[in-house]
Amino acid sequence: MAAPTPSMLPQLLDKHQAQLMKDWLAGQRAAGVVVDVESDERVRRFIAALRQGASSNADDVKNADWAAARDVLEQISRERALKGSTPVETVMFVFSLKDPLFALLRRECGSDADRLAREIANAMHLLDQLGLYTVEVFQKSREEVIGRQQEELLELSTPVVQLWDGVIAVPLIGTLDSARTQVVMESLLEEIVRTGAEIAIIDITGVPTVDTLVAQHLLKTVSAARLMGADCIISGIRPQIAQTIVHLGVELDVISKATMADAFAVALRRTGRMVVSRAGNGKGASKAENGDKAAGKTGAGQSGE
């Protein structure tokens, strides 16, 4: 756009600012852009910024002369992204300026078709770039929101609970990827140090699928806990997952139990404790020493309380 005659955009914006603002706001309303009390101020700031950018003759909006215009757009985009507007609604803020601006240009140029074409092409080029920039910022803001939520989810989803003196458990919920494994591992090991636990139960009831990668991650966690001097028990293996593990040929080289209750019974036995029924009706009394089946039955009843 290296026009020999300088663009008429700056003078035009100066001269018809009030009219343009009114038309633009009306256009925004028609296009479904949210118009609120701050719109007036924003529109004024953007027109001023546009004027500043246009008068610099730089036709790339990444240029420093357009910093003010970019600021306004960034602010709007971010706000809209957080409020949950659609990208179209957001970008229409810029594009709705086209109609009033082009009308203004046509009136100003009169019958000079050549000049009109040049001015419109120029203005369109600028507004398109600004529009694209708005979308870009919008997208980025949304991604920031998603990233933050993921982080929060990561922290929320890996609690380490103490079941008994020396026995801790990690109920895993959701898919186990490497980022989560890292968090699980860290919090588990920290907790082992803090509580001096000898046995850690990793419960995978809430893990939807176990493939080779997930199994590898599990084994890593188990190895790390072992290095700290704690034994791991993996519990909550559903029938389907047991089948998958065997079909994949994964070797889970650790103690595994079907339910958390079974694992807890093992943990108690290992730490030299047992659960005795108070009534002494004989059924639950010797459970911690009995075979796994008996322990499973009474253990399940216990955890259901």
Partner: protein
Amino acid sequence: MDQIPILKIGDCLLVSIQVDMHDRLALQLQDDLTNKIVTSRARGVMIDISALEIVDSFIGRMLNNIAAMSKVLDAVTVVVGMRPAVAITLVELGLALTGVRTALNVDKGLELIRHLIDDEQDPDDRREE
């Protein structure tokens, strides 16, 4: 050149590594330790690495080696006090130290060694297992 002290507690040897291990120091430790096991007829070796913040694959292998050497000399090795970050690093390096027994702290390590030695000394127990 500094040296890592080897302390004798009953029939156990306690090695507390408190400086950053460089390779020569590690080799010397292996030397000293095997000598000491033989001369003191120790049954257990406890290596405390709670002060170590950095453990590389060389140190990992050294721990494995010490465990294997002690085993040949009929002594059990227990590594105690590993830090969480160190454990994660070793696992990521693929060094699970499968030949080494571990415990959380010196207290539990001694308990474990006592337990292991008792198990070995009682042949009836072993047959039952």
